[in-house]
Amino acid sequence: MPHEANLRLPGRRVGEQRFVTPGRPALVLGLLGMIALVSICCFMTLGVKGNWGFVLPYRGQKLAGLLLVACAVALSTVLFQTVTNNRILTPSIMGFDALYVLVQTGIMFFLGTGVFALMDPFLRFGMEVVLMIGFSGLLFRWLFLGEERSLHLVVLIGIICGVFFRSVSNFMQRMLDPNAFQVLQDSFFASFSTIDPMLLKLSWVVVLAIVLLLWRMGHVFDVLNLGRATAINLGVNYRRVVITILLIISVLVAISTALVGPITFFGLLVASLAHGLIGNSRHRYILPAAVLLAVICLVGGQTLLERVFAFDTALSIIIEFLGGIVFIVLVIRGAAR
């Protein structure tokens, strides 16, 4: 029997087992990958008039920014939903990016324009990220580490925190002198063409390091998805793993907010689409699918708007509109259950 031969090697690895529809996730990923590639090509080449030597690096940098944001938002949202064991909450809905704006405003408020504008961008970014990690660590640890809490309670607390952070930032911004406010506002709405190239590179390095780390932790995510009790039962060091993931999420949110400002529902949109398209909950499929979807939305959407409709700024509005609808649908479906 061919079986016998196999059984003599009990320790042999045989890779992941096949699942119900093994073809579907691979097919979806392939399709998404192709669409993403096409979007990127269109973004780089459509409507070029004049010097390619100028246009390509210029657009390339914009593209690098978009890809970075896509990665950061998709990864942070999917992981956040896994850790909190729900499909409605995202870091932005919980006020992570409002927290980032607050941190930035706080730095400006307490240190002043001179320091803020003249500070080495690396140092400033590093400081913001560290503060962000510290605060979010404090704030969200008790929410997600102890006994399981009711989702409604967590949503409410998140929304209240978000409003609180925004109000405090607004309050501080009003007390700033107009010059300082101007500098601050510029830094919130950093458009893709004005990103500091060094900062962009640094962010890429950080995100790549995170992707590598996530790759190595990969097997834990599917187990966390089963809920706290089951994860502990299966031997996951729950506290440590959850803290690590929440910290990673803080860094990712800081990066994407620093680059394009707060986008509330984008993450929810791509995470929900990824779960829907893939059909099972394996992170090895969900995570890449979410990233690809985010790339398609951002790069493809930007290309469509810029080249086809000749709009310039409406992408975030459209994404927020669609994401908001998804949010409402999810809340209603969740309530009906």
Binding site: R12, E16, L226, R228, I232, N233, G235
Partner: protein, 252 residues
């Protein structure tokens, strides 16, 4: 051997477990019974490190559950709670395969696959193995989760109300199955049960709790008696012996 000494646990100011010391011998089926709010599930959660006790220690075969690395303990002791809500969309087979996680960290070896097959077989889930959990009835889901902890192949299995959601037929077959697991595979099984007759019929040991304390521990014949049940449940319960098993008539 599971040893709990001086366990205390309060939620807010309400003590739920009040100085419980109990030791559960290895082998056989032990059932924890008692009225609602007696602290049965909390005791199980403390033993299985899902909750941290305010005071006291729990050891399983000499390993302190709170200080032993989670992955080491996961190969000794498994816990299944009554409410297993989750957002993940999984097939039965995927879920059962997760039982092998403590042993293989997500990469199934052939040996793991044999365990998965055996657990599916044991719980008669072969026909359902490719169905998604959200397509199953409550009882089928329950069986799938039990199959997962079975697949984990630990010496100790703690199950919090495994008969929840099950009709008579499935409840009886679940208990028979657990007895088979304990006899054939030599596992120690600790259950929280609501139905004292199921507890009396299938258990080797019964632990009776009330108000966060252990009132009585012993074989069914010693615990399922009118006197003990009056103390535990605050009601008059006649106990008859049928075929050598105590049967409590609590329907009056």
């Amino acid at each position: 051997m599971i040893n709990a000494t001086g366990l205390m646990k309060s939620f807010g100011k309400t003590p739920v477990i009040n100085d419980v010391s109990v030791s559960l011998a290895a082998g056989g089926i032990t059932s924890i019974v008692g009225p609602n709010g007696a602290g049965k599930s909390t005791l199980l959660a403390l033993i299985s490190r899902l909750m941290r006790a305010d005071a006291g220690t729990v050891t399983v075969d000499g390993l302190d559950v709170w200080t032993t690395p989670a992955s080491v303990l996961a190969r000794r002791l498994s816990i299944l709670r009554q409410d297993n809500h989750m957002t993940a969309r999984l097939s039965v087979r995927d879920l059962v395969a997760f039982g092998r996680y403590p042993h293989s960290q997500g990469r199934l070896t052939l040996e793991d696959k044999a365990h998965v097959e055996r657990a599916l077989d044991y719980m008669a889930l072969n026909d359902l193995q490719h169905r998604f959990l959200d397509e199953l009835s409550g009882g089928q889901r329950q069986r799938a989760f039990v199959a997962m902890v079975l697949c984990q192949d630990t010496d100790y299995l703690l199950l919090d109300e495994p008969l929840n959601n099950l009709d008579m037929k499935h409840a009886a077959s679940m208990m028979k199955l657990l007895r088979r697991v304990s006899v054939e595979l030599g596992k120690t099984i600790v259950l929280v049960l609501h139905d004292i007759n199921f507890a009396g019929y299938y258990s080797d040991q019964i632990v009776a709790m009330r108000d966060g304390r252990v009132l009585r521990q012993g074989p069914p014949a010693e615990v399922i008696t009118s006197e003990v049940l009056r103390e535990v449940y605050d009601m008059e319960i006649q106990v008859r012996e049928i075929d050598g098993k105590p049967l409590a008539l609590f329907y009056e």
